[in-house]
């Protein structure tokens, strides 16, 4: 039972990979990549969790000895989200170019390499 959250992360990753491999539309492929990437958020946050821990924002009620959840993985998740947004926007722009130049958005129809 204590590994349940980690298994959820792996399952979301697998779902994203299956979606990417069976995709028939480039936009769908990009969304599946985002799904796969969001599994890393679940994994990071799950690793940092502690039962009874509060948010790592210190103040009057929360002192240095209060148990808090791990802020390091939260900072990493923030980085992860930003990079994910950058990658998604870049790939969507490429999908638009594909639709314009090749008149196709099905990855199977884009077999020929273009130099």
């Amino acid at each position: 039972m204590s590994y349940y959250a980690y298994v959820v992360a792996a399952a979301v990753m697998a779902l994203g990979l299956i979606g990417m491999a069976t995709s028939r539309n480039l936009v769908h492929t990009v969304v599946c990549l985002s799904v796969a990437q969001s599994s890393t958020y679940i994994l990071l946050i799950a690793i940092g969790f502690q039962y009874g821990g509060v948010a790592p924002i210190f103040g009057n009620q929360v002192g240095q000895q209060t148990p808090v959840v791990d802020p390091v993985v939260q900072a990493l998740t923030l980085t992860d989200v930003v990079v994910s947004a950058a990658v998604t926007s870049m790939l969507l722009a490429l999908a638009i170019q594909m639709a314009k130049r090749r008149k196709a958005v099905d990855p199977d129809a884009l077999g020929r390499l273009e130099g």
């Binding site: 590994y3 697998a14 990979l17 491999a21 808090v68 390091v72 990658v87 926007s89 008149k103």
Partner: protein, 261 residues
């Protein structure tokens, strides 16, 4: 590769992935345990610099150089998208008319929420060092607030209120500011990205030294980046049309031309 072969390969890969993950997970400390060595070190460092928001302290104080790299990734992605989404040959920009009917309730909500969102964004950025939030979150809120105008059916108002050159310069300025603060840490403090400003009292508005300054720099970059990205995509959907002269071309004319070139 045929579809069937690809799916077979996928299932083999997934089986390997599942096996590797199962092995890895059993070696991890259990979910919700009290064993967090990095947390313990980070909390001590957070208190040493009187920063209330531990996540901000880690991002902008303890590992500022990593965040600089992250901001550069965002910057490069925006440059790439802007390059990809330019009007290509045989495309032209058309005038977008503010046509269409917008429900009055939608307009009302937009008019109420537009100023509120801008104020909320400024609040999230300014208090990034002492409450949840910071430059990344506030920047996204700010750019979302600006695009509420589009939801309210005012594309022309949006384009007027959003001079893109300003945002292009704002984005670059944010990155430069971030790097300059890091270099200032090297010149005035112990190392690159060191926290060289007096840190004050925990939870005060002016505390945490350089963290609020980094938050402002990042807020500028993120807001400008999202505005430029959405402007590019909105342009593709609304303003950029292929030239009417090419309408009659048979499908595949593009490829033929490329092959000839």
């Amino acid at each position: 590769m045929t579809r069937r072969a690809r799916l077979t390969l996928l299932w083999i890969g997934l089986a390997g992935f599942g096996l590797a993950m199962a092995t890895a997970f059993t070696g991890l400390p259990g979910f919700g345990s009290t064993f967090h060595p990095y947390r313990d070190l980070a909390v001590v460092a957070t208190f040493a610099h009187a920063t209330a928001n531990s996540v901000s302290s880690i991002n902008f104080d303890q590992r500022g150089f990593d965040t600089f790299g992250e901001e550069t990734i965002l910057f490069c992605a925006v440059v790439g998208v802007a390059t990809l989404l330019r009007p290509v040959h045989r495309e032209r920009r058309r005038q977008v008319s503010s046509g269409g009917r917008v429900m009055e309730s939608t307009s009302l909500i937009v008019y109420v929420l537009f100023p509120l969102t801008l104020v909320l964004a400024a609040d999230v950025v300014a208090h990034g060092a002492i409450t949840p939030g910071g430059g990344f979150q506030g920047g996204v809120v700010l750019s979302t607030g600006i695009h509420l105008l589009y939801v309210g059916g005012r594309y022309t108002l949006l384009s007027r209120l959003r001079p893109l050159e300003w945002f292009e310069q704002g984005e670059a300025l944010g990155v430069v500011l971030f790097g300059a603060l890091g270099l200032a840490g090297g010149a005035l403090g112990a190392a690159l990205f060191a926290n060289f400003v007096p840190q004050g009292q925990l939870s005060d508005f002016l505390s945490a030294g350089t963290v609020p300054l980094f938050n402002i720099a990042v807020g500028m970059t993120v807001c400008s980046s999202v505005v430029i990205l959405l402007a590019g995509f909105l342009d593709q959907a609304l303003a950029i049309r292929s030239d009417p002269g090419t309408k009659g071309d048979p499908p595949g004319a593009d490829q033929k031309e490329e092959a000839a070139a």
